[in-house]
């Protein structure tokens, strides 16, 4: 049990979309679809609400449409109550082309926080927890808060200790932590096989709300243009800060490869259990789909499949989202097939990510590699034009922006 309103939550989703292009060309990282039926934002939202956080501010400079469409009133997370609720703070940044406002150069997201500082003050919460969506994990916010209070530090930052890492090329920020758990430093580093033991900064912070507003005011007073994360990176080094070790599943979604790998990881029961079947049920927007139908001709192994699909073909080692149709004589292997896509008969897909509502025409062959899966953009129609050409010709008919907007709006 927790006193009402003890913590307020911040979802800092001003995360750069560039790293996961083209998947994030038209959506923020937070609304990346994941594991057949989730979006990345479901994880922090569930972690916060399970811990009893009733007031959550979502800060972004992106277009909020896909987030808003998914989250709505926050009902699925129990946020549509008379207490607290969800608050959206969206301010355009320079790179979205609508920069200068009130004479301030809005480089970085710090002004979005500063201009809405009333939110923290009004919430009257003693503590604030800050999370993002790029770090895919399932944390116990209550445990972090307990640890924060026990340790008596100004800031607690969550990290994961890794010593074996086989995906390579992941740029993350790592903490230097001494034996009693105090944060001593922070550096940007690259994870690879022989990197040795590292403490990945998961960009999850707890501190007194008063301290957070002070940090924001100070940096604005000095007329600095930066991101909240930069401010926090400095603060955990300069102020007495405590590291909280997380031991569950973690994946940094900072490349298409990492996104693909995270989905494939879920085919392993230990990962799926750690992330999705643990003590916290991850909530997401509920859709009323029929059960998935497997035809006599289907052959499906080692795959995760959501409701609402019709499967007539062969699927192996793949993650299939809702409302996907896979026709007869198809082979889908080691692929991620997002919601509403359809795969025509005789098609063959290996190491492919199909974004939402992609149509693969019959007999099309798409073969990527484990490290470089082929990504097909949302609403594309892909066909193999001539039967005898060695490499399939890919004709992408992106059905224009209006269609795109329409689909996001009503999907």
């Amino acid at each position: 049990m927790m006193r009402r309103n003890k913590i307020c939550g911040i979802l800092n989703i001003t995360e750069s979309r560039l790293a996961t292009y083209p998947l994030t060309m038209n959506r923020p990282v937070a609304s990346l679809p994941f594991c057949s039926r989730y979006r990345l934002i479901d994880f922090p939202l569930t972690n916060l609400t399970t811990a009893g956080v009733e007031t959550i501010g979502i800060f972004t400079h992106d277009n909020l449409r896909s987030i808003y469409d998914h989250v709505r009133s926050g009902k699925e997370w129990g946020l549509d109550s008379i207490h607290g609720g969800l608050f959206f703070f969206s301010e355009p940044s320079l790179d979205s082309g609508r920069g200068n406002q009130g004479g301030l150069n809005l480089e970085g997201d710090i002004y979005n926080y500063f201009n809405n500082i009333e939110f923290f003050e009004k919430s009257e919460s003693e503590y604030t927890v800050i999370m993002g969506t790029r770090m895919l994990c399932n944390v116990d916010v209550q445990a972090i808060l307990r640890n924060h209070i026990e340790q008596g530090a100004d800031i607690t930052v969550v990290y994961k200790s890794v010593d074996q890492f086989d995906d390579g090329d992941q740029h993350v920020s790592c903490l230097t932590i001494d034996e009693d758990g105090r944060v001593r430093g922070l550096k940007s580093c690259e994870l690879h096989k022989n990197a040795g033991k590292m403490f990945i900064n998961m960009e999850i912070y707890i501190m007194k709300t008063r301290l957070l507003t002070k940090l924001i005011r100070n940096v604005v007073a000095e007329n600095e243009h930066c991101n909240l994360n930069d401010v926090l990176h400095k603060a955990i080094v300069n102020l007495p800060s405590n590291g909280f070790e997380y031991t569950g599943y973690l994946k940094t979604i900072n490349s298409v490869g990492a996104y693909y790998q995270a989905n494939m990881d879920m085919l392993q029961d230990s990962n799926l259990t750690a992330l999705l079947k643990g003590s916290q049920t991850i909530h997401t927007k509920v859709k009323n789909e029929a059960p998935t139908y497997y035809a006599r001709s289907s052959e499906v192994e080692d795959s995760l499949v959501a409701n609402g699909c019709l499967i007539y073909g062969e699927v192996a080692h793949s993650v299939v989202f809702r409302n996907v149709t896979i026709e007869k004589n198809t082979v889908v292997n080691s692929s991620v097939i997002m919601q509403g896509s359809s795969i025509g008969s005789g098609a063959e897909l290996h190491y492919v990510i199909l974004d939402k509502q992609v149509r693969i025409e019959p007999n099309t062959k798409l073969i990527g590699t484990k490290n470089k899966p082929i990504v097909i953009e949302k609403n594309s129609v892909i066909s193999r034009i001539s039967e005898d050409s060695q490499s399939p010709e890919i004709r992408t008919a992106n059905q224009g922006n209006d269609r795109e907007n329409y689909n996001t709006l009503f999907s």
Binding site: R37, L272, I282, P291, Y294
Partner: protein, 377 residues
Amino acid sequence: MIAMILAGGQGSRLGKLTRTIAKPAVPFGGKYRIIDFSLSNCSNSGIRTIGVVTQYQPLELNSHIGNGSHWGLDHKDGGVTILQPHSSLDGEKWFEGTAHAIYQNISYIDSHNPTYLLILSGDHIYKMDYEHMLHFHKRKKATATVAVIHVPLEEASRFGIMNTDNTDRIIDFEEKPAKPKSNLASMGIYIFTWEVLRRYLTESHATGQNMDDFGKNVIPSFLANGENVFAYSFNGYWKDVGTIESLWEANMAFINPDHELNIRDKSWRIYSKNPVAPPHYLATGAKVKESLIVDGCYISGEINHSIISQNVKIGANSVIKDSIVMANTVIGKNVTIDRAIVGEHAVFADNAQVVGDKSIEVVGYNEIVGGLNDEEE
């Protein structure tokens, strides 16, 4: 128009499946409960006020329906109200029959002051636009309209049979006739002009006349008094899953993606309470053919022409054939289940066998099969 769903029926012919829950709460099709069809039809027909009359074992039903939000029925005016029998100064008010249940809830209906009242039973599988029926009721200037469906003549004696003239006016009604004159069977769906039905119910109560049942008392009494009673013909799929066999058959037919019910039709969705679960996982070695599988399952065996509901675990080398496995059941290794209905939260120890032959085997809710009695123990 407001709707009253009569969901108090025990459904005793469903045996173990209705021992602890009311028939409308019995699971159907992998992720639905029978009452979802009536509730979704109401929601899709634009009916905003619904009273659900419960009596027998209402706990599961009440928690399923909640505030109706899963069907989009949590309106700020109206919404879903669960109506249970209660005691008052006049004594206890157990519902003696379908019409009696309406009589006992007159004050609820009056509080919404409807012109028309739609009466539904909560235990049929079908999709129907009640607005069409209301248009028909108005066009015919009826005071009562009964939805009817053509049944095979040889089965007609199991139903309430309507005889109509060429304007669809009902001239005669027989409950389960030995020699049916027509094959128009009542679906247990009625639209009444509320003012008229209200008068019949209150006056008969005052005079001590029996008016407990719509089929047996109310409709015959309307006909005897020359009221305009019409039959509204329905042509779609409609199934009363009143017995174990019919429940099993309806489920087996439901597997077919070309089923007449067209469950994947986005313009008339069937809604249900959807607990959140991860996607289902088909392990290496799983063989799933001609089956429906729902979220949250872990499947490692062989599934043939079956329905597997939410969060079911099926171990390696188990074979499930022509069966329905309800939610949260755990099935071990080398289990055989054939021609059976398995209730929610059942547990099958390794090597257990449940095989129906002529009749369908039923494993009750929370039942444990195999294990201690196993020969290997």
